[in-house]
Subunit: 172 residues, 3 copies
């Protein structure tokens, strides 16, 4: 029985929701791990990111986003609107801001800009879509059909960030 | 350690969202696989289908759908309305239509009817509800409580289709 | 290869949505199980509960709920409004009420109060957010980042209840 860990690095665009197609990397890492039958967890460790299973669409808008992603953005902007100022959501609150600013002093990758903390929408969207996909591996391939793709989503639109997508393969 | 693959075939009704109770088949396939303790992934390989965990409701509407499913349909029709013409969503776009028509020529099970491609709502609903359930197996049974059921959902309302629900059991 | 089962007992408040932070218990049970590398399924066996991955927020409202939870409640009250009488949703229907009342006679923990059955909102929210999280375990810890937490949610606001959250750890 093999248990193999891998990581995919993803960079968000920092201006809108980032959808990153990671299907080929997931397939390649499964092959590299040598797991023929078993499972693969593809998981975000960030609370404003998700991993989803969706069709790849050939047509894109002017930003380069696939049309189904643009459609999804439009629906979410109505249901879970973007937090543009502190009156839109109760989050984060003064104590939490102090906590996040403390973290930002210790970690150069968290810039100390209070406005970037206004991302309640990204947190709620991430909870809703879930942080991971658990895939079945059969004959060395994930069972995702011929038109199925895996996307890593960064719901945070406030800043460009490097993100980690963790994979764990278990099986024979 | 056992790793066992199984498949459940599901057929959609092609006129409305299809909810298929697969609980008994899942339990039977777990027994057949002989896994007493471990896990079972129940997963759709289609990007317009989901697998959910929900209560079984004895009362049904005139279509034969359980009342909780009808309630869910009514909410989703407001939030992610059905795509009835090409102005409702940007999806699919001309290049993607050409791609899907190319597939339909090669595969007799994909009939070449452009109107059936207008299923952006089904794609978005499938992403939202997720494509799989990961169940704990204990003493040969999935831990789903006494009133918990597993449903395979086909969100696509445009055509009758045969679907595959994949299972993988891992454990002792 | 270890396969270990554990259970966390959670009690809901019975007046509003209950969010229970179970992160420390999950970490402790992983340590206790002795799994260094592998996976952990954290799963509700109840059809009105969910397990989610979200940021911990230091600031709370007067009820003691974290601000992000209050924000989420406000959004859900609009999209999937609380069932306050039988006209709001079709659920449950007469046959299902009779079934649930039969269960309540046999189990003292299900009090025979018809009004508590009006929880269609809780069922639909549970399906939407999912019943489980599948975590990667690496070096004895779940890969949930430095600000990631695991919450058990009881969406049922009608009665105070004891709930079971099941864990299964598999790995080396």
């Amino acid at each position: 029985m093999k248990i193999e860990h891998r990581t995919i690095e993803v960079e968000s665009n920092g201006r809108r929701v980032t959808y990153q197609d990671i299907t080929e990397e997931v397939k390649e890492l499964i092959r590299e791990a040598g797991v023929r039958d078993g499972m693969c967890i593809v998981s975000s460790q960030h609370t404003t990111c998700s991993v989803i299973f969706e069709e790849y669409v050939h047509d894109k808008d002017w930003n380069g986003d696939e049309l189904l992603q643009v459609d999804l953005n439009r629906i979410l902007d109505k249901v879970i609107p973007r937090q543009l100022t502190e009156s839109d959501y109760l989050y984060p609150g003064p104590e939490h801001v102090a906590f996040l600013e403390e973290i930002s002093k210790q970690t150069p990758e968290y810039p100390n800009d209070p406005a970037t903390i206004l991302n309640a929408d990204a947190h709620i969207r991430a909870s809703l879509f879930g942080s991971s996909q658990t895939l079945i591996i059969k004959d060395g391939e994930p069972l995702i059909g011929s038109v199925g793709y895996i996307y890593f989503i960064d719901w945070d639109q406030n800043r460009k960030r490097k993100r980690k997508c963790n994979l764990m393969m278990m099986g024979n």
